[in-house]
């Protein structure tokens, strides 16, 4: 009887973690689409996506707290609990970074010239890919620790690509003909978007170590 309850609780927790990872993945996709909307002048769609990201972030927080609570109360996965909760917390930083990035766009309404749109979109795209590979890596960690490295190296790849685009963007911005405040303002948004890929890479480093520790 107790064993059946244990398996039932396990199933519920599994689905909660899956849902949390789904939210993280959606946030990455929404970040890209929201920036596309902003850069295309579709303000209403941008704000709608920004609110979606904010809701997903709140719900993800609730899920994470519930998972943490259950893992401690039921003393589940004692050997891996610290790693799992650490990974989920750091993933929350990725979601937060995306949310903050969009909030900055919404509040500060940067003026992005047409010649920089493609680079911004490319940067957002690489950030999203890094998030998608990270989520796949975390799912792999929960099932087969050996395939985690397949995804982790891709996260690092997209993060490097994002860094390259970010640097290129900043050089172009500071080479433009506008005042310093304008250049600094525009380049800060490069940092916001690039920050998502950076956070994703931080999580992937922790994921690598956790996967090594997980071997029986």
């Amino acid at each position: 009887m107790a064993m059946t309850r244990l398996f039932e609780k396990t199933k519920i927790l599994e689905s909660q973690i899956d849902e949390y990872l789904n939210h993280a993945s959606e946030v990455g996709l929404l970040l890209l689409e929201a920036i596309r909307d902003y850069l295309s002048g579709r303000q209403e769609q941008f704000e709608s996506r920004r609110r979606q990201v904010s809701d997903l972030e709140k719900h993800a927080d609730t899920l994470r707290h519930d998972v943490e609570h259950e893992l401690y109360v039921e003393t589940l996965i004692p050997e891996s609990r610290g790693d799992v909760l650490g990974i989920l917390e750091q993933t929350d930083d990725v979601i937060n970074a995306a949310k903050v990035s969009l909030e900055q766009f919404s509040v500060e309404k940067p003026d992005i010239p047409a010649e920089l749109v493609d680079d911004f979109l490319e940067l957002a795209d690489y950030g999203n890919r890094a998030v998608q590979e990270l989520v796949m890596g975390i799912r792999a960690y929960f099932r087969t620790s050996s395939s985690v490295t397949d995804h982790v190296h891709k996260v690092a790849f997209w993060e490097k690509e994002a860094d390259k685009v970010g640097e290129r963007l900043k050089r172009r911005i500071f080479g433009m003909d506008c005042d310093l405040a304008c250049r600094i303002h525009r380049s800060s948004f490069v940092g916001h978007i690039d920050g998502v890929a950076d956070q994703a890479e931080d999580v992937s480093e922790r994921l690598t170590i956790s996967a090594i520790k997980r071997s029986i």
Binding site: M3, L6, F7, T10, L13, E14, I17, T75, L76, I77, P78, E79, S80, V84, Y141, F142, R143, T144, S146, R214, I216
Partner: protein
Amino acid sequence: MGLLLLSSAVLLGWSLGANDAANIFGTAVATRMVRFRTAAIYCGVFVVLGAVISGAGTTKTLGELGAVNALGGSFMVALAAALAVMWMTRAGLPVSVTQAIVGAILGWNVFTGSRTDITALTEIVSSWVICPILAGVFAAAFYLIARKVIEVRPIHLLELDAATRTGLIIAGAFGAYSLGANNIANVMGAFVPAFPARAFELGPVFSLSMKQLLFMLGGFAIAAGAFFHSHRVMMTVGRGLFRLTPVTALVVVLSEAIVLFLFASQSLEGWLASRGLPTIPLVPVSSSQAVIGAIVGIAIVKGGRGVRYAILGKVAAGWAATPLMAALITFVGLFFLQNVFGMMVARPQPYVITEPVLERLSEEGVASMELEGLKGTRYPDAWAFTRALEQRADLDRDQMNTVLEFAERDSFYVDPRLIPSLDRSVLSEEQLRGVESLSYRAFSHEWQFLERLASSSPKWKTEIGKRPEADEPFAVRHVLDTFRVDLSESARGSTRK
């Protein structure tokens, strides 16, 4: 008085529970996969079940090593083993209760001049080598299987955790059952020959023999030791000595449980024997040795890293020192018990070659002219008789054992006044009539009594025919105990024991 003397067995059982429960549930509790209370309850219940249901096999082997036939002797054997265990534990050396009790029984044999069955001793000592090796082989195999399964069929971390927890509880319960079945002989084995065979009714359909009752008491002592005293040891074994993941902990517990069960299962022994396959001897083995063997087996599969050979060396030293220490304490303790407190530590067991013995030996193929020269001489114990045989006759080991078996002097008188006191729940009407047909008859050897009994009725013939492969049938033991006459009283002409 008997109950007071059982206190040493209770102490030994408590020590066994406190130490060995940790081998079963230690890692599960220390890694918080299973709560201590849950572990202790499962351990207690299944230890008692294992002891009562399956404890007879290993007890028989221990009894063959040395039949401690007086309560005083049983008390000292159990006490010496318990003291040796406690002494070695305080010295920081890992200890095996099995080895302590074997050493103590050998000490009793030496003190009383009783025969040590070399076959039984060889079986027991060889099991000390086979047990860890077998556990290592099982553990390595299970580990490789587990690793392959997890590789091939990706299982969610949480599902694996739940399955491991469930596995640890099931394996732990099996391990506790095997511990009770295999090790109850250590706790109560020395007392079984010293208590008379009787049956106890528990309600209209359920009865327990004296042996099962003793095993139940021993099982409760082990369970109590596990419940009240094993928590600290569990945490030490689980964390301090070896670092195992929950899955490897499950592999270790399962391997240990299987090995202990293999060395205790009479049904498996019977199955193997019926197919002409080599059997596994039914001997008490050390759960600590099995656990260490299993862990080393896994370490070897993983490449041999992480094995702390210094600790292994210390463990081996402990295993060697424990039986020696127990034997020494027994010897000294028996001396004091007998000579200072005047307690009987052994029933006299003389040997004499008579004409019927010579005829019987001839039927067994042991015909020796030199034995004629020993006819009529009474030897006080197995030592003296064996020395005389070695000096006068050229016999191999098997022949020597046969001579010892048939020359063992005992005294039985079928007093018809004792027949009404026989337990009718154990003996059939046919068997009772068989006993009655031997009224007023006296026998100097157990084999004579049993042969006459076997010829008195087909039921007795079947019952007696089961010896010595099976554990001694209760009915046979009951009749022997009822009509046995104390040899010292017999010498004075008394017919009642």
